[in-house]
């Protein structure tokens, strides 16, 4: 295990040597997530807002603002046109290069499906990647009811993001988030939840190698974990409160909607489990967490565990799970155990993630057949989606 238990008090402050982290919010959803991160008081990273829309940027609480494509949109939004978003970003490529100089880790937060997010995010990813930074993307995917066009745009944007050098791309499909909310949840509730989860996820990753962490991993480990090009990615989180906070956090982690994909256990190789609790938490919880994850994800190639102490959490416990990289092939138990010891390095080109609403998921089994159009509706798409019925699963 790569865990490096350290005593917080003994650790000298070496902030100067810490890698620079920059979090860039792109487009409307990206700015919203950024505002949330800003409010959470994240100290480990610099925040940067990036948009084509001058009025949206003006509203952002973040100090570092980068307005792009003034020559293209004249300070207005991209209007849902990916092409406009992309041209806007291309026009201001030089300014992005300057903004990303010397940054070691870049987070890009975006909502895919619209104009600026889908168009500009891949360009930023490319710029960041070319400057040698590790690029991690958190992207929300549109609701299915938002229509085929937005879906295609989101999918294309994902493809570009992969091609342009996004090292790990974590997607949060809005439809999945919707399922975890109650019966009277509205779309804004889902956007809020998406922002909240992205904020928590990014914060956790930023702090995982912070010298202030109760049990940290080094940046190299995070880098190795996240440079998972060509692999599935995995992001899930859970939270528990009260007496059995840790156990209920593990329960909600298991039930996290982002894990609700077939064969979720068998597809990611390098895992990072992360524990957030009050600073004087029982260190045995770390062992429990790693045992729990190892059991639930038997095909992982490596597993790192880290922890961070928060005063503000009280008796609540939060757990996170990040994954990327190729899973090892299921083998006989003895072999699987042997393989668990050594870390596999993967270089495959086409990255897929799960949790994302794929095209085949919309028509699923009927993909490849002629559309089943009846009175303007494709009958192969589930009725409850077309009728916009809300099915409450929990």
């Amino acid at each position: 295990m790569d865990t490096d238990l350290q005593n917080k008090a003994e650790k000298p402050a070496v902030d100067a040597e810490q890698p620079t982290i920059k979090i860039i919010g792109v487009g409307g959803a990206g700015l919203a997530a950024l505002a949330r991160l800003h409010a959470s008081g994240l100290k480990e990273a610099q925040l940067c807002a990036l948009d084509t829309d001058a009025s949206a940027l003006a509203l952002s609480p973040v100090a570092d603002k980068l307005m792009i494509g003034q020559s293209v949109t004249r300070g207005l939004s991209a209007g849902g046109e990916v092409d406009v978003g992309r041209r806007a970003a291309e026009a201001d490529r030089d300014r992005m290069v300057t903004a990303l100089e010397g940054v070691k880790l870049v987070f890009i937060l975006a909502g895919l499906g619209g104009g600026t997010g889908s168009g500009a995010a891949p360009v930023i990813a490319q710029v960041a990647s070319q400057s040698g930074a590790l690029v991690v993307v958190f992207a929300t995917m549109p609701f299915i009811v938002e229509g085929a066009r937005r879906h295609r745009q989101a999918e294309d944007a994902l493809k570009y993001l992969r091609m342009c050098g996004g090292d790990s791309i974590f997607t949060l499909p809005n439809d999945l988030l919707m399922q975890s909310l109650g019966a009277d949840a509205t779309a804004p509730d889902v956007f809020q939840l998406a922002g909240q989860w992205i904020c928590r996820g990014v914060g956790a990753l930023c702090r995982s190698f912070s010298p202030k962490a109760a049990a940290s991993v080094d940046f190299g480990t995070v880098q190795k974990l996240l440079v998972g090009k060509g692999s599935k990615t995995l992001f899930a989180l859970g939270r528990g409160e009260g007496e059995k906070a840790f156990e209920s956090a593990l329960d909600t982690l298991t039930g996290c909607p982002l894990l609700r994909v077939p064969h979720a256990t068998a597809q990611t190789g390098n895992l990072l489990a992360y524990l957030c609790a009050k600073p004087d938490f029982d260190i045995a919880l770390l062992n429990k967490l790693s045992a729990f994850v190892a059991e639930k994800f038997p095909f992982h190639a490596s597993l790192s565990v880290c922890a961070y102490g928060y005063e503000s959490l009280g008796d609540a416990v939060e757990v996170y799970l990040f994954g990327a990289g190729e899973a090892i092939k299921p083998k006989s138990p003895a072999k699987a155990k042997a393989a668990e010891e050594k870390t596999t390095s993967v270089t495959v080109t086409a990255q897929e993630e799960f949790g994302f609403v794929q095209k085949e998921a919309q028509r699923g089994y009927f993909d490849g057949t002629e559309p089943n159009v009846y009175k303007g509706e494709d009958l192969d798409v589930p009725t409850y989606l077309r009728r916009n019925l809300k099915i409450i699963l929990n």
Partner: protein, 404 residues
């Protein structure tokens, strides 16, 4: 000749092919000698997308049936389904020829010919003609033979389909060295088994809900007067579940069969079920009602679509026989309740024909059994050279002629 008492039928469905061989002991009551079944891949929503694979599957079923029956056939009845199948109404009319204004056999034949001579759009061929009613000088009559009148009209419901798609299916039998003796729309085949004669006379809607498609046939006065195919079936229910619950298709199919229901009202709101049953990551408890809601949305929509197709015939007054559900997907729990609610009439599941062997006593076999029944009735007619013209007859000599 003795062999003419033996009859075979093949139903090519979306999920499986079934072949049955029977011996005609009484008119319309064949005794099963052997049957074979094989699951099919290569058909989606009733349309063949991989002919070679489908062909092999069908041949496997026929071969199994022949092995069991210990004989080889030269011809078989074949079901037809798919979204390409359409239906239309037409009326044939002739002036009564004889001087005494009495309707002769010949008049009836000419009226029928007139009705059937309606040109179809390009590439379409007739599959079945179903006679509906005779009118003599505008008055509806049961059998006009020998009655007095000037003008004889006959209403037909025609079922037609895409010629190349029908040929595809016939070619599967041809490749096995079999002639296609009868070509029957699968909805009508199923209707002949699922609904009783009384129901068909009163007015009944038969829904054959298969894996890929749903065939509907509305009977009135004993004859099919409206038919159609809706490309929605059990596969859609599975796909909806797989999608809504984020599980694999196979798990969804299992879930549908074990816990599926089309009537959420009948399910306790607090019931929770394990979605995969293996209690691993990804497995979770969900509300049982959610499963039923997803299924009910789809099944309800299917029924609404059929109702819309029926138009003013969907009036409960015109459907005293109610709704009869058959086909593999009709086994789904609560489906009859839902159908009853949508159509506002009583709905029931089909019952297997009396005296059938237990292996075939399932709703998914109504098409092939209906084929056998209709085919044997047809055979009797030909054998007796009877003049009876009523009922459904497979008239597709044009097609077969072109096929040789």
């Amino acid at each position: 000749m003795g062999a003419s008492r033996i009859i075979g039928a093949v139903d090519i469905g979306t999920s499986k092919a079934v072949a049955v061989i029977g011996e005609v002991v009484a008119p319309g009551r064949p005794e099963i000698l052997g049957f074979g079944e094989s699951s099919i891949s290569g058909i989606r929503k009733g349309e063949i997308i991989d002919l070679a694979t489908v062909s092999n599957c069908v041949h496997a079923a026929i071969s199994a049936a022949e092995t069991k029956a210990k004989l080889h056939l030269t011809d078989m009845c074949l079901s037809q389904s798919g979204t390409h199948i359409g239906g239309m109404e037409s009326t044939g009319s002739v002036n009564v020829a004889s001087a005494d204004n009495r309707v002769s056999q010949n008049d009836m034949r000419r009226a029928a010919q007139d009705a059937k001579s309606k040109e179809l759009p390009g590439g379409r061929v007739y599959i079945n003609h179903a006679i509906n009613a005779y009118r003599l000088d505008g008055q509806a009559v049961g059998n006009p033979l020998g009655m007095e009148g000037r003008r004889l009209e006959v209403d037909y419901w025609h079922i037609y389909g895409d010629e190349s798609k029908i040929r595809d299916r016939i070619s599967i039998l041809t490749a096995y060295n079999l002639n296609t003796s009868e070509l029957i729309f699968s909805g009508i085949a199923a209707g002949g088994i699922a609904a009783t004669e009384t129901e068909r006379r009163m007015g009944v809607l038969v829904l054959d809900i298969g894996a890929g498609t749903t065939e509907y046939v509305y009977y009135r006065n004993g004859y099919p007067c409206l038919t159609g195919v809706i490309p929605v079936g059990g596969d859609h229910l599975t796909n909806d579940l797989a999608y809504g619950l984020r599980i694999g298709n196979r798990s969804a199919e299992k879930l549908k069969i074990n816990l599926g229901s089309a009537f959420p009202d009948a399910i306790n709101k607090d019931d929770k079920v394990w979605i995969l049953g293996d209690k691993n990551v990804g497995d979770r408890q969900i509300r049982h009602e959610a499963i039923a809601q997803i299924i009910a949305a789809r099944a309800g929509e299917l029924f609404e679509m059929v109702k819309a197709e029926l138009g003013n015939r969907a009036d409960p007054e015109l459907m005293p026989g109610g709704v009869v559900l058959t086909g593999g997907s009709s086994k789904l729990d609560g489906l009859d309740l839902l159908a009853g609610r949508v159509f506002g009439v009583s709905a029931r599941r089909s019952e297997p024909p009396p005296g059938i062997c237990p292996e075939l006593a399932k709703p998914e076999y109504s098409v092939v059994l209906g084929l056998l029944k209709l085919g044997s009735a047809e055979k009797e007619k030909i054998a007796d050279d009877a003049a009876a013209k009523k009922g459904v007859r497979g008239l597709f000599s044009r097609l077969l002629g072109g096929n040789k």
